[in-house]
Symmetry: C2
Subunit: 249 residues, 2 copies
């Protein structure tokens, strides 16, 4: 039995999120059904974490076990032939049998795309912001989020975890053509954390909050003080980081 | 009565092409129904030309008459509010009452996008070419198409026109990130001409034809000697050109 680690790209538009659930088609379900076709028996996959309905991934990571004598490059080709074209396998590696796509995560990068102009081709891939944004003010606000903080104000109030302390290593706003990209690299993120941070920063950009209000919000540890949750379709799980020692066989 | 000229962007994925037809939803039909809602009576639009099912536009041009006392900028906002988000109005101008979106065309630019890597987000917007391409050979072939030629070998055999002579002013291959873009600027193009030229040039890129075969194909004036018709979803009507004298009021 060998263990494979795959890096997956998906357009989340037509899915009810990553994780299997009773209502609606999910990314996990489609990949597991495809692996079942190849293996002639059910194959369970473990992902680095969930993504919500309509959220995308450039680099979601999964692992699974296989008894097939197939090279990783052939696994990529076989899966891409069988999967629908809104889910693509970008890379596959054989890893040690103790590699865990979920528990070994040491960091994640998310990006959130917004645009200020109408664009038929980006309608499911970035969020249209029809009001003008003060990019310099957003950058000032963004700086307050970097570091180790209790992010209770920036996650769903009912988040099932006692520890809401997380570390954001880097946060930046990238101007790329007609779009603005929020990039966050951190130890891990709470439920809806990126979308609430972005929703709040967009309010900073239109002058509803001052940049230094972000500091006050962090201190309040109360979801009610932060801004709205930005829509799902601007969000991408961009990259998942693992320790060097887990780089593969 | 005033005449408006609008520049339209559309993602052609979910449409049966530009022009109204009995089977399947078309771009023209959706825009006309939207204008009818605004005007409380049917409004006919005239486009610069047709695009096929799944073909896109960055800059299709239409005209129509209106008795509404509405500024062009307000027309853009009103239409974008009412239209589905895969059809966007980019610009609207009032023009002289003799402006004709179809008959006044003096040139068109089309672009055709291909990529060599899997990409879930570009699946409907560019064509995946899974074999390697010799870009230098394609550029040599492309050069033969520039100029005034009889393009009978590069259009649908049953094309209903006696005159198959057209002029290509510029043709180039642009390398942009992971994608290759064929750009054609010409006086006008025959039915399926861009897709047949691209299909043939891709065969040059993989070594099935030599670049100088393009010259031989033009001389043959026979659709059977050229390559396959490339798929529709890589094609974009990029820009439509009108005389300076028709620039608007």
């Amino acid at each position: 039995m060998r263990r494979f680690k795959c890096t997956i790209q998906y357009d989340g538009t037509d899915y009810s999120g990553y994780q299997v659930q009773p209502n609606g088609l999910t990314i996990q379900e489609v990949i597991e059904k495809t692996l079942e076709r190849m293996h002639k028996h059910p194959v369970k996959i473990i992902g680095s974490g969930r993504t919500d309905a309509r959220v995308h991934a450039q680099g979601q990571v999964i692992h699974f076990n296989t008894e097939l004598s197939i090279a990783p490059a052939s696994m990529v080709k076989a899966l891409n032939t069988l999967l629908p074209d809104d889910i693509r396998i970008r890379d596959c590696k054989e890893v040690a049998s103790d590699f865990e796509a979920r528990y070994d995560v040491v960091g994640k990068e998310y990006r959130y795309f917004v645009r200020q102009t109408e664009d038929a081709f980006r309608r499911h891939q970035s969020v249209l912001i029809p009001y003008s944004l003060d990019v310099a003010q957003i950058r000032l606000g963004l700086a307050y989020l970097v570091g180790t903080h209790d992010f209770s104000s920036f996650c769903v109030a009912k988040t099932e975890t006692d520890n809401r302390v997380r570390t954001i290593y880097e946060a930046e706003l990238i101007e790329q053509g007609e779009e603005l990209i929020f990039r966050f690299h951190g130890s891990g993120f709470l439920y809806n954390q990126i979308r609430i941070m972005v929703g709040t920063l967009l309010d900073v950009g239109r002058g509803r909050f001052a940049p230094e209000d972000i500091k006050r919000m962090l201190e309040a540890k109360d979801r009610n003080v932060a801004g709205v949750t930005a829509p799902p379709h601007g969000l991408y799980l961009w990259e998942v980081f693992y320790p060097e020692s887990k780089k593969g066989i």
